[in-house]
Amino acid sequence: MSILHAIFQPGLFSNSSVQDAAIVGAVVALVCAPVGVFTVVRGQSFAGHAFADITATGGSAAFLLGVSPLLGFVVMALAGASATELLGTERQRGRDLATGVVLGAGLGLSALLLYLTTTTQSTTGAAVTVLFGSIFAVSTSTLPLVIGFGVSALFLVGLVYRPLLLSSINPDLASAQGLGHRAVGLIYMVSLALSVALSALTIGAILSTALLIGPAATALRLAKSPGRAIACAALIGVAATWAGIVLAYDSYNWPPAQQGWPVSFFVVSLVLAAYLLAQLTGRRARQGQAQ
């Protein structure tokens, strides 16, 4: 009983920012699961990471204008996706270069916006908040927006689920069948942009890749079918965010500074631990088969 008490400290469940954080975390993990699985299968981790970083520009602009950071994240992620799509070349190497250039431009712009924020306003922590996240600071009024964007992203993925699966596993066959290859890719890009924006709100713009890629890559090592992989990724994602929130709440009186460790750190560590564990069990299973 005392161990349980030490983990779930008094006030955890009645704290309103913890409740909001738990809802946001769950929505984000559920959205990231299907989108992340497709991102890993399509080999688009760099694009996912790039959009995530670019959302920092929107977050910084939102700070400067005084609007909700989520709106900034979403607008900029969509802009980044369209820019990459416009520049986009067919070959992987060319695409990576175009993505990198757009990413550099976005990060440069967010440097400028954050600089302007610190000079015109008296806030100094904007850079850290935008880049490394602060889920406990998400206001209750943002919750409907979070759920709205989350449902839209899930709806889009559900809409093109089968053609997207085909074009992810066998792009040549998909384009030969003329399934609106390009349109499917575009819808996937929009849902990717929405999910990294939501993830950026949770664990910060430059860390949001962790929730997108981590649970999905882990699930793909464990599950055999795409549907199961998505379910497994959702489970891992929700578990990691919730455990991260609980640990961050516990850490308020941890050494050395007695000011709490960041949620993002716990979430990223848990996601990595899950991935390493899956890799280890996978290897052991293969060795067992060989013997």
Partner: protein
Amino acid sequence: MLSGLFSGFMVGTWLQASVMAVVAGTVGFFVVLRGSSFEAHAIPQGAFTGAAGAALIGASTLVGVGTFSLLGVVAIARWGRRGRHDVVTALCLVTLLGIGSLFLSLSTEYAEQTFSLLFGEPLAVSSSDLLPTALLGAGCITMVIVLFRPLMLSSIAPELAAVRGVSPARVELLFLLAVGVVTTMALPVVGALLVFSLMIGPPATARFVTDRPVWAMAVSGALGLITVWVSITASFWSNWPIGFFVGTFAVVWYVIGRGLARWRTRPSPVVPLGLAALGSR
């Protein structure tokens, strides 16, 4: 307005930035050729953690960044051999950055210092860093010269390289080490988030200026030098973060490169860069 730009305390900045720009442009040629934009982005971004850690325990930024660059390089190279390379790169990156967020929250540094580690601060160069930077730069250029042929071969024709006994894994590790060295030199000046722009912007243009790899590397180094010099001047004058100018320059170079490519493909198809050079040997 620019009167302080060439005063005594800026000499170190100019020297270090120039060395760093040339080396970044040269290594960047291979980043673009191998399609390694993600790795070139992930290693500096992960190395931010080293800078934050150094600030936390009061160590030298150069040592901190160097250590974490090396950590990132080894992790990506070793771990990337099994599993998907881009997934592994992404996971290494976020893991390092996650630790970075912990370091940030534990330290009592001012927000301005964090900001300059992320987005660059030309004045952050201390004169004691000058000698290590010069040595690192010289070592990196030497490595590129020595490894030139295996690097070229494994970038363009991996199968042929394997037949000739060039281990792709070893070449990849050495190449990533070069990226790590560039990171160590460039991070304090242009910031963790924008180092990679220096490695992809200039070569994006250079490879369309000439078909010969050595010339392309030289052009890339020269364009890197222009990027850094103009960015430092503009940053000094406007007081805006240097990262903004470096990121914008990358777009300019890329657009010029695309324009050149289109202009050149009109009369005759372009022979893939490097293949022509190998053929002429």
